[in-house]
């Protein structure tokens, strides 16, 4: 091997977050199933409905949980049993519990001390100011509102100079103004070259922030890449929907005329099953059709198990 190729190999930079064939199961329950992904500097959203496996995946990326299979590397190093790596990484979990007997400032100072920061005051002051809680830093955390606790936890996460930031549902409990401030802060941190991975089950939270997303459904990585491209793909996906009504045949006849419907059939129990690629149109049309035909709708449900969550998720928007 030539010296030049040696040097070329050395300059290949590993992605800050590198997850390879990772699975995690608890007894018979598979929480994360063979997920591989790389996250580069900038803001990436980890999106998926509740129970999709986002938190378990984030815990494995942060080193809190050991993968049942596969490996996770942060900044090119194995994350498990590697505490020195946390000098460069910050993680904020979705659990909102804190040491209630500490003041907000003491809580941030605790983090700063454990990171070995010296002198202590400048980074602590800066972090608390960043989240806008300077005025209440002397109050015990038990007296904070949910949103304030969340912000002080963020201050403790940001107290050191990190390269990778992992945030699990960081906007829980925050109000619209705080969300905007949070988005501005994340954009600023990302513009400084940091890698930020934010999980959320709310599309709008990620939509405004992340250029690329990782979409998890039922423990699997369903899609990854550019946010708008994935969203378009999701909208184009055919969905199987079951409709139980007071008159299935009349309902089927009405549905087959809709552009949003690809196919219509009646199952063994007499319910209508349809395939659609346009969930939002269907969502609007079905109640209108039922009303026009004087049919009573009893139940509308997605049938494809693996897509159920995604379906509900899109329909709920």
């Amino acid at each position: 091997m030539t010296q030049a190729s040696h040097s070329q190999e050395a300059t290949v930079i590993a992605p800050p977050i590198d997850v390879r064939s990772v699975s995690k199961w608890f007894g018979n329950v598979v929480a994360v199933n063979d997920v591989s992904l790389q996250v580069n500097p900038g803001i990436t959203g980890l999106l998926g409905p509740n129970g999709a496996g986002k938190t378990t995946l984030l815990h494995m990326i942060a080193g809190l949980a050991k993968p049942s299979e596969g490996e996770v590397k942060l900044l090119g190093e194995p994350v498990r049993d590697n505490p020195q790596l946390y000098h460069r990484v910050g993680f904020m979990s979705e659990h909102e519990s804190v040491y209630g007997f500490l003041t907000g400032r003491e809580f941030v100072e605790l983090a700063a001390r454990l990171y070995g920061l010296e002198p202590l005051s400048p980074p602590v002051d800066r972090a608390i100011e960043l989240v806008g809680l300077t005025d209440v830093q002397g109050r015990t955390l038990s007296t904070y509102s949910r949103g304030m606790r969340q912000r002080m936890r963020l201050a403790a996460t940001l107290v050191h100079d990190l390269e990778v930031l992992l945030l699990d549902e960081p906007l829980n409990g925050t109000d619209p103004r705080q969300r905007i401030e949070f988005q501005n802060l994340m954009r600023k941190l990302a513009s400084e070259g940091r890698t930020i991975l934010i999980s959320s089950h709310i599309l709008e939270e990620v939509e405004l922030l992340a250029g690329s997303i990782l979409l998890m459904v039922s423990g699997k990585l369903a899609a990854s890449g550019d946010f708008h491209a994935i969203r378009a793909k999701l909208d184009e996906r055919p969905y199987k929907v079951r409709i139980v009504s007071s008159d299935s045949r009349a309902m089927a006849a009405a549905l087959v005329r809709l552009d949003a419907v690809d196919s219509v059939s009646i199952d063994a129990e007499g319910a209508v099953e349809i395939m659609t690629r346009n969930v939002s149109d269907l969502q609007r049309s079905v109640p209108r059709l039922a009303q026009e035909q004087h049919i009573r709708l009893l139940r509308v449900e997605p049938l494809d198990e693996s897509l159920e969550s995604v379906f509900s998720y899109l329909v709920e928007r």
Partner: protein
């Protein structure tokens, strides 16, 4: 490490826990005071009373219970309320997390238990009271009680800190261990005393002052064996706790 020690002590020293510990610690003191007021000047019967009080009540009962309440909570509480991640996701070697947790239990429990044991011994040893006893040259007995209880607290704390990290039902495990192994089995099977924290504590007490605690002679093992046993048990469970913290999934 100091910051973790401070926070661990504050976590453990909750009002309800302190009240429970103080009430338990006052039991032997109250009993000793009561008996010392009624006993005669017969030093033999006083010695027997102190030995029974220390072994039967303090070392076999209150010492493991108090240490259990504290040490199982030192990690157990943080696992339960999911605050442990604030500590483990920091660039701190795992042993430097375990050590302050262990020390916190020893400080909070040890101070109270040693004070209880020493005061009970002073009161029970002489109907004339503590000051006279110390002046009388019996300082050795109080030192022996203090050091033996310290060894007991440290050893139990190491075992129960590990239990608190391993199981969410650490208290149940600890109760079974204390009453079955330390209380019942080690009382009847002499060989078990070599693997019993109660056996180590009693033997250290007797080894440091066999004159004052003569009645314990039938229930002890060799003094060096007790010292080594307590040290090895502490070291092994400390290592197991560090190992567990490195390998476990933190909620």
């Amino acid at each position: 490490m100091l910051v973790l020690l401070r926070i661990s002590v504050r976590q453990l020293a909750s009002r309800s826990r302190l009240i429970l510990i103080l009430l338990l610690a006052l039991l032997p003191v109250g009993l000793a005071a009561l008996v010392s007021a009624t006993l005669n000047e017969d030093s033999t019967s006083n010695g027997e009373f102190i030995s029974t009080l220390l072994d039967g009540l303090l070392i076999a009962g209150i010492l493991p219970i108090v240490t259990m309440v504290l040490a199982t909570a030192s990690f157990g509480n943080e696992l339960e309320d999911r605050t442990l991640s604030y500590i483990v996701l920091k660039p701190v070697p795992r042993w430097l997390i375990v050590l302050p947790k262990l020390l916190a239990s020893i400080i909070v429990g040890g101070l109270v238990l040693i004070a209880s044991g020493v005061v009970a011994t002073l009161l029970g040893a002489s109907s004339l009271g503590a000051v006279l006893l110390v002046l009388d040259g019996n300082l050795q007995a109080t030192l022996a009680v203090g050091l033996a209880l310290f060894a007991g607290v440290v050893t139990y704390a190491a075992i129960f800190t590990w239990a608190g990290l391993v199981s969410t039902r650490a208290i149940a495990f600890a109760l079974v261990y204390v009453f079955l192994w330390e209380g019942l089995i080690s009382s009847f099977l002499g060989g078990v005393r070599y693997l019993s924290v109660r056996g180590y504590t009693l033997s250290i007490l007797h080894g440091l002052d066999d004159k004052s605690f003569g009645p314990l002679g039938e229930r002890v093992i060799e003094f060096p064996a007790a010292l080594v046993g307590a040290a090895v048990t502490t070291a092994v469970f400390f290592w197991l706790t560090v190992r567990r913290l490195r390998r476990m999934d933190v909620p």
